[in-house]
Symmetry: C2
Subunit: 211 residues, 2 copies
């Protein structure tokens, strides 16, 4: 068992540190976030920080770093108050990962990587046609995290597109059947296999208190 301290992490090669610290929190959600500028240029970017915040109302958060170039996702969401969250399935990992390349603004990542936009009446931002589980989001608020220069974006699910057979009788979604992947570190894509479901001890109470 090795112990690493602040001073060791500080002294690390920057790329080594990026890989290490990006994998140290465990497995991460794997989503493509779709957005579109007011003048109609669609954007698509892979995010591994999408996190459940609450179920009633259905709220989701994720983190952006506004200093990053190009910050299209952040700009588009503040401008239009609309975005989509699309689960990355196992067969789309290579295409999805290409969005981590820096394309110049005024280019559609959809076109560049060969994925198709899909639109509904309820949501301005484009969904990814090829994805299986898709969330249409309405921006609610954003919170700067000054200690590290990121911003937490919070939105509400206003439309959920999902094959009916993936939803169990208790509401639980079969993400294995959906072939949704998970990310570790910066660049590793994994397919999870279920071990078991366990009784949720406080579920009765949870229906009142938990979100």
């Amino acid at each position: 068992m090795e112990s690493l301290y602040s001073k060791d992490i500080e002294k690390m090669d920057p790329v080594y540190r990026l890989h290490l610290i990006n994998s140290v929190t465990g497995f991460k959600s794997a989503n493509l976030i779709g957005s579109k500028s007011n003048d109609g240029i669609p954007n698509l970017a892979v995010f591994s920080s999408v996190t459940h915040l609450g179920s009633n109302p259905p709220m989701v958060g994720f983190f952006v770093r506004p200093g990053d170039s190009p910050p299209d996702t952040y700009r588009n969401i503040l401008e239009t108050k609309s975005y989509t969250i699309n689960h990355i399935p196992a067969n789309l990992t290579s295409k999805a990962h290409q969005t981590s390349a820096t394309y110049s603004f005024h280019h559609s990542e959809f076109e560049k990587i060969g994925l198709n936009e899909e639109y509904t009446d309820s949501v301005y931002a484009p969904y990814v046609k090829e994805c299986t589980i898709k969330l249409g989001m309405a921006y609610r608020d954003h919170y700067p995290v000054p200690v590290n220069g990121t911003v937490l974006i919070v939105g509400e699910i206003v439309e959920l597109k999902i094959p009916k057979n993936l939803i169990g009788t208790d509401g639980h979604i079969d993400l294995n059947e959906a072939e949704t992947v998970t990310i570790s570190g910066l660049d590793a894509y994994h397919r999870p296999k279920i071990i078991h479901r366990l009784e949720y001890a406080t579920l009765k109470e949870a229906s009142a208190n938990k979100s």
Copy 2:
């Protein structure tokens, strides 16, 4: 493909909605957060919202809901500025999940579920002896998310305990070898299997800009 809208989600049975919306963001990190009150009572609770925020300095966030009872983790962290994040390995899912039961304050979950505390000179809060990858955290700040009553807690990794053989030459941690699990929904534990690692397109630039 089914489409569900805000009004459909609002009308759902609360437990069905809990399961559905908790699984709709994809796979989640699976960690036990250890903390200890100023008067020495240790606490342990499973969290699926631990998220990477940045690598330099190494920052991690997670969400608490202060209204939940018992809010020991939140109280202890604000009181002592110290906590630990411990990856849940496949052989500990059942024990870890038991921490989702509501124990009264002034009881140690370590004792209740049969896991052992482990201490170091650098961190006040208890680590979980049985876990393989453990992060010692110093509280940095917290940010209320008023739109849904949660609080984002942000901390810095000040100690990292990990078997040396799990760290690749480029810094990437082999979470499969560590047997770290991932959670979907409220209660489903999965073991991920790697599909592939992909070249990180902007890594050279990233070493300067990305965190």
